[in-house]
Subunit: 304 residues, 2 copies
Amino acid sequence: MAADKLRGVFAPVVTPFNNDLSINLPAFVAHCQRLVADGAGVAISGTNSEACSETFEERMALVDAVIDAGIPGERVLVGTGCCAIGDAVALTRHAIDRGCAGVLVLPPFFFKNVQEDGVFAYYRELIQRVDDPALRVVLYHIPAMSGVPITLSLIERLVAAFPTQIAGVKDSSGDWDNVMAMLERFPALSIFPASEILMLRSLALGAAGCISATNNINARDIALAYGSVTEAARLNDSITSVRKAAERFPMVAAVKHTLSLLAGDAGWRHVRPPLVPLAADAALQLSQAMATAMPALRGVALPA
Amino acid sequence: MAADKLRGVFAPVVTPFNNDLSINLPAFVAHCQRLVADGAGVAISGTNSEACSETFEERMALVDAVIDAGIPGERVLVGTGCCAIGDAVALTRHAIDRGCAGVLVLPPFFFKNVQEDGVFAYYRELIQRVDDPALRVVLYHIPAMSGVPITLSLIERLVAAFPTQIAGVKDSSGDWDNVMAMLERFPALSIFPASEILMLRSLALGAAGCISATNNINARDIALAYGSVTEAARLNDSITSVRKAAERFPMVAAVKHTLSLLAGDAGWRHVRPPLVPLAADAALQLSQAMATAMPALRGVALPA
């Protein structure tokens, strides 16, 4: 893994499924290659990837497929957080072995109201068992799903105990104050908001980029805005429009629906339970909103 | 799996860990054998088993160990719910192959605010992929941990679609009204409250028994009370006292601490992160409360 600070625009890549809900690996690789060509990195096995709905073997296979296809490991983050430390250790070692830049680690998310000591012990056990100087951990704060927050005091303890291994935080809380607090207190960490709108507000304050679902459909513009203040100013409204159109709907289904429009392939709409595809009325609303927001969809005939 | 209605007192067996947090399999088997000798069945891989903190292979090995030790499959339930349907299918098939009486299935618990259609689809996929006439599913309602409730309307849809496979519900909500509502609406199902106190109130109304953490420390009395209204009347206060003493503390740590007192083996106190053992003051309070509540502990010298 890279010793440099992790930076950039990463897409938490959505996973295409076949009709029988098995993974469409060629479509997945092609999607990742497009994203990298557009200037983004790929975050495999994130929330938007439906990683928790995938088996251990499937998660390994997705990483292997991307690396085997020649995407440089430095452009790859891998979600390896699991409720069981043993599983997280194995997925993390695999990501390091394949040369990935870092791992994005959920706290254990079954038990709730756990003590900070217990969450600290989870990360400590993970880091100590992996025991590899190449390990770079991005802590994953997504309390609305995990139910277990990555608090500022937890980050502080982990950074103090493992200064080289704790590389950053992905903040999916959507809470601007929390992004600001992390940027102030942890300037050495890579802070990734989960929305490009928050990234645009926080880049000048030290944010490392973003790991945002809508990079799956808008990576080129977001990467341009990340790379240049001029482009950021030029693209701000357009990027914001696309994000806001998607945010009105359940995110995974919304991103996959939009990809189905961009690719002209309804297969992109498959999600695994417990997620469901957008209902017909929501799909139509999103299609219309995206046709307005995205230049690439203007003039395209839109099925629901 | 048995065609008869599932009934009885089941202990969601806690898992003993060695100092390095690996599973102490001999101690686990001995604990299960004691429970069965005391009149309880064993529910392996439940919440109190810290199943979500165990790898797939560990969960399989625990089932194998119990069956290989000669505990009859009809006394064994297995928790097989996972976020990934593929994992749940494999664990469920394994439980059926080993002759276990039924499987206890959590809803997928990473995504929150999911639609009922999505949770229904999860169980439908599981049942259809397992595709075995021996399958008996006990739905697992534990909203405080899973974040995804098993609603009455979901149960109704599942029973209508899979009348032979949906065998019951474990209700860990602690909500008496919900137990009552299920008993009224689903008389053909095995309804298991997660507390022996609620079991004692609901047995005459049709409850099937209980799947309760405190069976790990009090199985003999609870099984006696389950089997006889006379014993239930005689033991009601004592059973209630033990349960209430445990309920004041985080349950897994409290049960394990009490087992450490009963067995004279501090090794029972190990838990895996994110859980933590009881702090010293809580351990002392619990020790004192249990010394009062449990005849087996009267006169025993109690370490903290």
